[in-house]
């Protein structure tokens, strides 16, 4: 079993009267990749600064390798962590000098710096820029320099505060692919902040959902994205369809839930009479023309009232009488289905694709 690298206990960060962060407990195991998602002002960057031992929390403990970081030699422990920020602020020096800075701060010799840094400059495709002034770099090149600077430190923990957020789409894709490859190769314990659910799901083995300074949910990515523990967490992870319902009956593994007069079958074990929030991801809904379909469960009649085309997927808003649903379909399937606004359709969803949250 992997060892615990970083532990946060009862962390509270106050900015004046405002609570910026209030966490019960959070552990990061060696080799884990944790994605932190949440809306603006959720406390993601504050959390990263506390984890990086850059900011002392108002209350609580941060333990790195079991040592209380803010009562012992904080600098020594902080030097086992490297943080990369959204804006790659580099010094008025060359790319090499910037990338070597962290190693130089640790008093390493020029030969040792060269030995540790050169492979990263190569891997990140910036070796040819080594003697260029950092002020002349593009955003992507500057961010690669910033990442090389952090990776050359061979940290126990790498923290990334949306370092790809300000990049153009092409640079961002390239950067993310390189980042995913490097993290996979090195098995470096990594915590990264992102707004993008796709990125969080693709890169994070574990996902933490943060809102209003509170840790709403933290767990395996499948659990967090498909079985959120509360309404707010469901909204953040993209469960666009959230409807209030009441459990009607339990029949072995299938539960009947009444939602605004409609009955939905759900693979769940909650007791009858319980109020729940019925959560369905948009991509779990299937659309079909006509009056019947193959699925024996959860056939809802509806009408397409809005279509939002996308490059990969089409989103549709469906009027199902007393409630509305948002469905997401692959572009190819959507075009082949010949759907258009105003079409009467049948919406189906598998009982195993519906998640219930006790209200």
């Amino acid at each position: 079993m992997a060892k615990t690298l970083l532990t946060l206990r009862d962390i509270v960060v106050l900015y004046g009267e405002r609570v910026a962060l209030s966490l019960g407990s959070l552990e990061i195991k060696t080799g884990n990749i944790l994605a932190i998602i949440g809306p603006n002002g959720a406390g993601k960057s504050t959390l990263l600064r506390v984890m990086g031992l850059i900011q002392r929390p108002t209350e609580g403990q941060v333990l790195l390798h079991g040592t209380d970081a803010f009562t012992g030699n904080t600098l020594l422990l902080r030097r086992r962590i490297a943080t990369v920020f959204q804006e790659p602020l580099l010094l008025n020096a060359t790319v090499y000098q910037n990338a070597a800075l962290g190693l130089k701060l640790r008093g390493m010799s020029a030969a040792e710096i060269e030995r540790r840094l050169a492979p990263w400059l190569e891997k990140l495709g910036i070796a040819h820029l080594a003697s260029r002034s950092a002020r002349t770099l593009s955003g992507g090149e500057a961010q690669r320099t910033s990442l090389a600077r952090a990776l050359a430190l061979e940290p126990d923990l790498l923290l990334l505060d949306e370092p790809w957020a300000a990049l153009d789409p092409a640079s961002r894709e390239e950067f993310l692919l390189d980042f995913a490859r490097i993290v996979k190769e090195t098995r470096l314990t990594t915590v990264f902040v992102t707004h993008d659910r796709e990125e969080a799901f693709a890169l994070g083995e574990q996902v933490a959902v943060l809102m209003g300074g509170l840790l709403l949910h933290c767990g395996r990515r499948e659990e967090v994205f498909f079985q959120p523990n509360c309404d707010a967490s469901a909204e953040i992870v993209g469960m666009s369809n959230r409807l209030p319902g009441t459990i009607q009956a339990l029949d072995e593994a299938i539960t009947s839930v009444e939602v605004s007069g409609q009955i939905l079958c759900v693979a769940s074990h909650l007791l009858a009479g319980k109020k729940v929030i019925v959560c369905i991801r948009p991509e779990q809904l299937s659309l079909q023309h006509g009056n019947s379909c193959a699925s024996p469960y959860n056939q809802l009649k509806g009408r397409i009232i809005n279509i939002m085309p996308g490059i990969g997927t089409y989103q549709t808003i469906l009027d199902c009488g007393v409630f509305r649903l948002i469905a997401s379909m692959e572009r190819k399937g959507f075009i082949e289905g010949g759907y258009s606004e105003g079409d009467e359709i049948i919406v189906t969803v598998s009982p195993t694709s519906i998640h219930l949250i006790p209200a």
């Binding site: 990086g52 490297a82 920020f85 701060l105």
Partner: protein
């Protein structure tokens, strides 16, 4: 015109015959203003850094005081330093009035707010996130300050130039606290005032030319360092 021409010739003669008194005055000016500038840098840079980077009650008030001090009239400084150092004044026992030390004190009071104010502005012009990034790669607090100083080196050089320029050219405070005593506290500015008053325009011009050359030499040296670091702006069409 004749007066100016005669004055210029006399100035060149004094300069190139290495007149002992002129060079003694020049050397004293360099010593007093150089010492005052160094002391101002020693005190003003840390003060500017503290005002730029820290938060404490009354910080805004101190910053406003420093900014006000940047425009402090030398005669006002001269007046108050004289009162304090006067034989019957609070610091009269030190017997510093009409001494080079008194002139250094007055010049430090003039240069200190200039250096501190420009240092504060230089640090505040840096992106606050730069500190986080440097801490994020393991900088200690001392290393952080040193790196920020290096990053703000261009505006900090401007602070050095402004501080030195402020004291080498001032006359009011030096006259009041130094007394313009021949061979003891006479510097280039006070000597120029005296010689002009006596109608010795040739000597006054010689002293002025030395003062200008000295100021230019120091600023040229610092500007070379400053501009060597500056990135070239693209040519605008």
């Amino acid at each position: 015109m004749e007066l100016i021409w005669q004055g210029a010739l006399k100035a060149l003669e004094l300069l190139f015959t290495f007149d002992a008194e002129v060079w003694a005055i020049t050397w004293l000016s360099i010593k007093i203003s150089g010492s005052a500038t160094l002391i101002s840098l020693f005190l003003g840079i840390p003060l500017g850094i503290v005002l730029a980077l820290s938060h404490f009650p009354g910080r805004s008030f101190v910053a406003a005081m420093v900014n006000t001090g940047m425009g402090l009239p030398p005669v006002v400084v001269g007046l108050f330093v004289s009162i304090f150092l006067w034989r019957s004044g609070p610091l009269g026992l030190l017997d510093l009035i009409y001494s080079p030390t008194a002139m250094v004190i007055a010049q430090v009071i003039i240069a200190l707010p200039i250096v501190a104010g420009l240092t504060m502005a230089a640090f505040q012009s840096l992106d606050p996130k730069l500190s986080l990034q440097l801490l994020g790669i393991g900088a200690s607090r001392a290393q952080l300050i040193w790196l920020l100083c290096k990053e703000a080196r261009l505006p900090l050089l401007a602070a050095v130039m402004a501080g030195f320029g402020g004291v080498i050219s001032e006359v009011g405070a030096s006259m009041m606290v130094g007394g313009n005593i021949r061979g003891q506290t006479r510097v280039l500015t006070t000597a120029t005032v005296l010689e002009t008053g006596k109608g010795n325009f040739d000597v006054a011009m010689a002293l002025s030319l030395i003062l200008l050359a000295l100021t230019f030499a120091v600023n040229f040296f610092l500007t070379r360092i400053q501009q060597r670091e500056q990135l070239r702006w693209p040519r605008l069409s």
